[in-house]
């Protein structure tokens, strides 16, 4: 099947199988390794990418569903060398340890802030309920998101 998709602002046309998963097309087809395969069951969020701004589990999402849509991966968050405020905040807050959950956390937070620019801490916890981390204990991740949320723009 033909897949026409804009990934991180660039248009791609790929020939894919109906059963191809978005995570594999991104990682192996397009070489975008930022999204990770972890639980492979939609529970952990390590594979999160945004499709038309909505967070999806790329591990359980048919690539063909992205046809005609825009996909954002972690590689598309920065603009050139200029980091997205969330990326900057994660670095500054010490919210990155092994990094395997990081891209999922960043994209989920970005989607949340697009919907709700002034979340409470409880809002953030609700949104991140499906994003697991084993290293950080979450506190600095939530701090980082709140720091961006509370910054006037």
């Amino acid at each position: 099947m033909k897949l026409q998709v804009i990934v991180n602002g660039r248009a791609h046309e790929l020939e894919i199988d109906a059963h191809a998963l978005l995570l594999d097309v991104l990682r192996d087809g397009l070489g975008l390794k930022g999204a990770k395969r972890s639980c492979d069951a939609q529970v952990c969020g390590a594979c999160t990418v945004l499709v038309d701004g909505l967070a999806v589990s790329a591990c359980t999402y048919l690539a063909i569903e992205a046809d005609g849509r825009e996909v954002l991966t972690v590689e598309g968050l920065a603009e050139g060398e200029s980091l997205h405020p969330l990326q900057r905040a994660f670095i500054d807050a010490g919210a990155v340890q092994c990094g395997f959950c990081t891209s999922g956390m960043l994209l989920t937070a970005r989607a949340m802030l697009a919907e709700n620019a002034r979340p409470t801490r409880a809002d953030v916890l609700h949104y991140l309920r499906g994003s697991l981390c084993r290293c950080t204990g979450y506190r600095k991740i939530v701090d980082a998101v709140m720091a961006v949320a509370e910054t006037p723009r």
């Binding site: 972890s38 069951a41 340890q97 939530v142």
Partner: protein, 763 residues
């Protein structure tokens, strides 16, 4: 060299690898591509214990796109057994499977779909056998034996004293005694005893195990592996394939978490075997359910008896501990030995009798997991300590303080004296939790303390290279698994050589390039690898000072390093200029070397711990009495770390340790029924989520620069996890009067205990 304020050590600088991680550029094993790479899948046993009568891989082998299909019987050209304590674990099952999930056959194919399809073409005849699924079942007379016969010793010379007991499921025993515990208990004014259970839990690193193995045209092997000790993996493979160590190269990119699950060989032998059979590179990546079938924490049942004098002096400790180490020993015997060694915790006690057994069961092998046997023991001792405090009519904080080992006091003859101030950690934790203030009626508070030795003897070596432009490369084999070791090593180097942090590059561990480091575990990387790096950097510093002394005609004692130059009042020689002076041209580099190898001592475990890890945890909990759900509202961890090289990343590590500890305290348990693991996926195995973290979480550090590591540092990272379960249980007991002895403290368990206590109204 006069003491000068530190410029970068002790600063909360951003991690050196943060940028690549937030931009998705950091590379983990499954992100790597080697041309011609094949993909492997593993066929795993559906039985906990069975004879393997026949494995027929012919149809799989014949499937187009399959490069290799192997069963245990095919492994005639290598030594198919491996394991750090005993070489009891076959790469693929031979004649028998000993746990559900054990690899029985494996396939390498052109892609994952073909490999999966090939697995379905493999026929296996199993003859199920009775299985020993629990400690009780494995220790019962007439129990099914997980292993018959005595396996050869593993590759650690210091573990060669370990011996299993043939004819039983006892994999190892550790006994330790001092004084006369029995008599002391008989004479004690207050004796309390109880038995505590710690569950099987899985590390759930977000990145499951992964390996990429490639043999080259000279029959040398290169592996990219998600491993915490590349040198241990290398030794294992060298022995397996009878290849010199120098021809085996293990490279370690970023790890997506380890926590002990990636210590010692796991999937590397199988990947290397497949790569050899396939004649091409092979990537073997486990899934999370497969991680549950690869390694876990050793579950335990610990019975403790403690005796006190009326005035609160701890007189005696007796401990009988059984650890369930699963179907293969892995490092289980050492977990048992080393954990039990500090079963008496951070206390002074004259009379001790400790007896521990590592027991085989037909379950996922138990191995190293953050805490290494100590969480299981601290769960027991620290819980019982509070029971004793109540019996004595004493405040639990006060009773601990009274019995703490003092700074400089001996723990055991021949071992390092206590190198920290436990009472300082305790005091700060108690104050932070508001111990002496009346708490809310619906909240309870509890504390717990821990003491743990680091692995000894051990070896860490490092090389530091100063280049002609003044930039620096650090070669060390401490693995970056999220704990921030690359950043710490860079900070130490930058500090010693007085260069900007971004001028220092710490390369990934690579046994062909970075020198020997025993292991990234045991909280040792800052203290040991860091010290090796410090010594190597100081070696370069000395060389720079010598060059400058000769070049400038100034005595070295009047020279210092500052901002990439050797300076003296009115004089300045940049490093670049120094190298030109040394080599007479634009070229060359200065190489410094550090070797930290304290060697064997008379200490009971064969080496003196390089530092003692000590920490205190204090919890404030509430409980929903109708459901039994416990909430940790506040938690304070105070760790005595000597010097926090990077306080920001250390705080993050300890926050993570606390929350991971809440996992086994409140949520996590691997559940088996009829020989099957019921909850080996994240759909039903519940690790803490963001909303499980305590609303108030503080991780603090005592820094008295009293460690033997760089700048007075000791070790950290396990101390935050170990006290969590007893602190929470103690808080719950103080709130409800109910004492639980089995983890996790699920809502149902707590509910049942509350009900039962209401009925009997006795404790």
């Amino acid at each position: 060299m006069s003491a000068r304020p530190l410029r970068v050590v002790g600063r909360p600088v951003p991690r050196v690898d943060a940028l690549e991680k937030v931009t998705g550029r950091a590379r983990y094993v499954t992100d790597l591509i080697v041309p011609g790479m094949a993909h492997a899948k593993v066929l795993r046993s559906p039985y906990a214990h069975a004879r393997v009568r026949r494995v027929d891989v012919r149809r799989a082998r014949a499937l187009p796109g399959v490069f290799a299909a192997l069963a245990g019987a095919d492994l005639t050209w290598c030594d198919p057994y491996y394991g750090p304590a005993y070489r009891d674990r076959p790469v693929l099952a031979i004649d028998v499977v000993r746990y559900e999930g054990e690899p029985v056959a494996a396939v390498a194919a052109v892609d994952e779909a073909t490999a999966e399809a090939a697995l379905e073409l493999i026929d296996v005849d199993y003859e199920p056998l009775a299985a020993a699924m629990t400690l009780e079942a494995a220790l019962a007379p007439g129990a099914p034996l997980v292993h018959a016969g005595q396996p050869p010793a593993g590759h650690f010379a210091d573990l060669s004293t370990l011996r299993p007991e043939p004819g039983t499921n006892i994999c190892h025993r550790f006994d330790f005694a001092r004084g006369d515990a029995e008599a002391a208990l008989a004479a004690a004014d207050v004796v309390v005893e109880d038995a505590y259970r710690f569950p099987s839990v899985q590390h759930v690193a977000m990145e499951p195990h992964a390996v990429l193995a490639a043999w080259d045209e000279t029959s040398a092997l290169t592996l990219w592996a998600s491993t915490q000790n590349p040198y241990s993996v290398r030794v294992e493979l060298a022995k397996m394939f009878d290849v010199p160590l120098a021809r085996i190269r293990v490279v370690v990119p970023h790890l997506g978490g380890g926590f002990g699950s990636k210590t010692y060989a796991k999937l590397e032998p199988l990947a290397a075997t497949l790569a050899r059979a396939a004649g091409r590179p092979v990537r073997l990546a486990a899934s999370i359910p497969e991680a549950f079938q690869t390694v876990r924490r050793c579950a335990s049942r610990v019975a403790v008896r403690v005796g006190f004098r009326r005035d609160g002096t701890l007189l005696a400790v007796e401990c009988d501990a059984d650890y369930d180490v699963g179907a293969y020993a892995d490092i289980g015997p050492r977990v048992v030995q080393k954990g039990t060694y500090t079963a008496t915790g951070p206390y002074r006690v004259a009379h001790v009798r400790l007896a521990a057994r590592a027991v085989y069961t037909n379950t996922t092998p138990g191995g190293a997991f953050r805490g290494f046997g100590v969480p299981q023991l601290a769960w027991a001792l620290e819980s019982l300590f509070d029971v004793a405090a109540e019996r004595l009519g004493r405040d639990p904080v006060d009773l601990r303080r009274q019995n703490f080992l003092a700074h400089g006091e001996e723990f055991a003859p021949g071992d390092t004296p206590i190198d920290g101030k436990l009472e300082e950690s305790l005091g700060r934790a108690a104050e932070a939790i508001g111990w002496s203030q009346t708490g809310a009626a619906d909240r309870g508070r509890g504390v717990a303390a821990m003491l743990k030795a680091s692995v000894a003897p051990s070896v860490s070596e490092a090389i530091v290279r100063l280049h002609t432009d003044g930039s620096v490369t650090v070669l060390a084999s401490a693995v970056e698994m999220g704990q921030g070791t690359r950043t710490v090593l860079a900070q130490i180097t930058a500090e010693v050589l007085s260069v900007a942090l971004d001028r220092v590059t710490v390369v990934q561990p690579d046994t062909a390039v970075t020198p020997y480091d025993q292991t990234t575990s045991s909280s040792r990387s800052t203290a040991m690898t860091g010290r090796a790096v410090q010594v190597a950097a100081e070696d370069v510093r000395e060389q720079l000072l010598d060059i400058a002394a000769r070049s400038l005609g100034i005595a070295t004692r009047d020279l210092a390093l500052a901002d990439g130059a050797i300076v003296s009042p009115g004089r300045r020689l940049t490093y670049a200029e120094a190298l030109v002076a040394r080599f007479g041209m634009s070229g060359g580099e200065l190489i410094g070397r550090g070797v930290i190898a304290p060697g064997r001592t008379a200490a009971p475990l064969g080496g003196s711990t390089p530092f003692w890890e000590m920490a205190v945890g204090a919890a404030e909990v509430s409980v929903d009495r109708e459901t039994g759900a416990v909430r940790v509202e506040r938690y304070v961890s105070v760790a005595d770390v000597g010097r926090a090289i990077n306080p920001l990343s250390l705080e993050g590590q300890d926050e993570g340790g606390v929350v991971q500890g809440l996992g086994h305290t409140l949520l996590e348990e691997m559940l088996y029924a009829d020989g099957h693991l019921l909850n080996g996926t994240l759909l039903v195995y519940r690790i803490p989520r963001a909303d499980d973290a305590p609303a108030e979480l503080e991780c603090r550090f005592v820094e008295n620069a009293d460690g033997s590591g760089p700048f007075g540092a000791k070790g950290a990272g396990e101390g935050s996890l170990i006290p969590v379960s007893p602190a929470v249980a103690n808080a719950l007991a103080r709130l409800t009067g109910v004492r639980l002895r089995d983890l996790p403290l699920t809502p149902e368990r707590v509910w049942r205990a509350l009900r039962s206590s209401q009925r009997t109204d006795a404790r």
